[in-house]
Structure formats: C-alpha cells, structure tokens
C-alpha cells in the first residue's frame, strides 16, 4: 500500500465529480457530483493525516463531513423549491436569474 494509490484514486474521484457537474442536466446528478468532489477532498485529507502521523487532518475531515451534511440539507431544500416553481428537474430551466428583462 503506497500513498500514490490513494492520490490516483482521489484525483479520479474529483475528476468524475467535475465531469458529472459539467455534462449532466439532471439536478440530482449535479448535487451528487458535488458531494463526490467533497468526498474526494476528504479522502485526500485523511491520506495526508496518515502520512503526517498526526490527527489534525482527520479532524478537518470530520468537520468537512459536517459541512457535507449542511450542504445536503440546503441543496435538497433548493431542489424542492425549484421543482415547485418549474415542475421539472432540468437544470437548464433554472436559468431565469441569468436572463435579462424582456427575454423569454
């Protein structure tokens, strides 16, 4: 078991999350991709903690897990609110804040 394995895995997870955000339109997949990117950072923090032999990295990872939970609650509430106004889960339809007055 060498650290490079964990570095490869963490980079791969972060890239997959970024690809999911860029390429999919389903708002749930975008949300899960954000979670995946945060989890990749978490894995990297724990790897560094194990390399450094101190618990500091693990404590940051624990706080990051709490932040993931907070983000989940806010994002799901936003999805419910957007679904109520547009009756769709397509993220392209949620672009009304970018439209100027008179368009659409």
């Amino acid at each position: 078991m060498i650290p490079e394995q964990f570095f490869i895995l963490s980079t791969l997870l972060f890239s997959i999350g970024l690809i999911g955000i860029v390429s999919r339109r389903n708002i749930f997949v975008v949300y899960l991709s954000i979670e995946l990117m945060l989890s990749a950072v978490n894995l990297l923090l724990v790897t560094f903690s194990r390399l450094d032999q101190s618990m500091n990295g693990s404590v940051i990872a624990l706080l990051l897990i709490a932040i993931i939970a907070a983000e989940a609650s806010i994002f799901l509430a936003m999805i419910i609110q957007l679904y109520r106004s547009k009756r769709s889960l397509d993220s392209d339809k949620f672009s009304e804040l970018t439209q100027k007055k008179g368009q659409q």
């Binding site: 394995q5 972060f14 724990v46 936003m78």
Partner: protein, 183 residues
C-alpha cells in the same frame, strides 16, 4: 498483500459507483451507485486506520445524506416526465472528460512530487480518544463554528423549502380570526 487486495476491491467499488452515478438515466440508480461509492470510501478510511472517521462516514454520508436524498428523489425524481431528456449525454461526458483530463494530470503531478511513503502508525493514532483530545483542544473554535453553521443550515433549509402561503402575515391573521369566529 492483504491490504493491497482490500484496497483494490474498495477502489473498484468506488470508481464503478461514481461512474454509474454520472451515467445512469434514472436518478434513483444514480443515488444507489453513490451509496455504494460512499460505503467503499468508508472502507478506505478504515484502511487508513481512522476508525472514528469510518463510523462518522457511515453515519453521516450514508445514513443521513444519501437517505435524505433518496427520500427527495422518490418524491420528485422517480417519475419519467420529470427526468430531463438528455440524448447526447455520453457525447457530453466524452467532451468534458477531454476537458478535465489536463486538470486531473496537474493535480496528480503536484501530489506525486511529494515522494511520500507510509510509516508504521504511532501509538493511539486514529483512535477516538486522540481524536477527541485534538478536537477539543486545538480545533475547538472551528468545531463551534461548524455547530453554528449547522444551525444556520437548518434554519435556511426550512425557510427555503417552506410554502409561501402558510407564512404570509395576512393569511395568518385571517386564519386566526376565523378560528376566533369559530369559537
């Protein structure tokens, strides 16, 4: 040798779960793939000898986040007409893979230039006791800040997801007056 084979199995589950998450059409299958990926990630935390983080990952990411997400998906996203129509999904995934690859290579090169290697763990590393000591001595201010953040996230989620009509003042007074009339 045993560690390497466990790592291989866990990372296989992790990568397959996350790839399934971005490629399934139906949202519920994406959520289940994400569940598999999070369980494998918890196993990796255990492999890195952080037993408390293993438990916290299973409790929070699997037990709370994914289950809450599944509840919302079952109520909104499982109907066919709600799911967006994406005919060129795999084409877009291919294009964005080409775009993301240089960034991934950059991150990996930066990480690999550390030339790090694992050593034998010290006494008490990864245990709950040392974690708690560290959390309540040096990291107590971030810990309290996270508690305030969680409280504000709770209030924010309630305010965002509520229905407007139940919270308007005039409606409240109307209902109140009606109730008093009924009395």
């Amino acid at each position: 040798m045993l560690e390497n084979s466990i790592f291989a199995i866990l990372s296989l589950f992790l990568v397959i779960g996350s790839l399934g998450m971005i490629s399934f059409k139906h949202t519920i299958f994406s959520a289940f793939s994400f569940l598999i990926a999070m369980l494998a990630l918890a196993g990796l935390f255990a492999l890195l000898e952080n037993s408390f983080l293993f438990l916290a990952q299973i409790m929070v990411s699997v037990g709370a986040v994914v289950v809450l997400g599944l509840m919302v998906i079952i109520s909104l996203g499982s109907i066919e007409k709600n799911i967006p129509h994406e005919p060129y999904k795999f084409y877009w995934i291919f294009i964005s893979t080409l775009l993301v690859t240089p960034l991934a290579l950059l991150i990996y090169k930066a990480l690999i230039s550390l030339h790090a290697h694992f050593e034998e763990t010290r006494e008490g590393y990864g245990e709950l006791k040392s974690m708690g000591e560290r959390l309540f001595s040096e990291w107590v201010l971030p810990f309290e800040a996270v508690s305030v953040l969680l409280l504000s996230a709770m209030v924010g989620a309630i305010v965002i997801a509520r229905k407007e009509k139940y919270f308007k003042k005039e409606n409240y007074f109307d209902n109140h007056n009606q109730q008093e009339d009924n009395k």
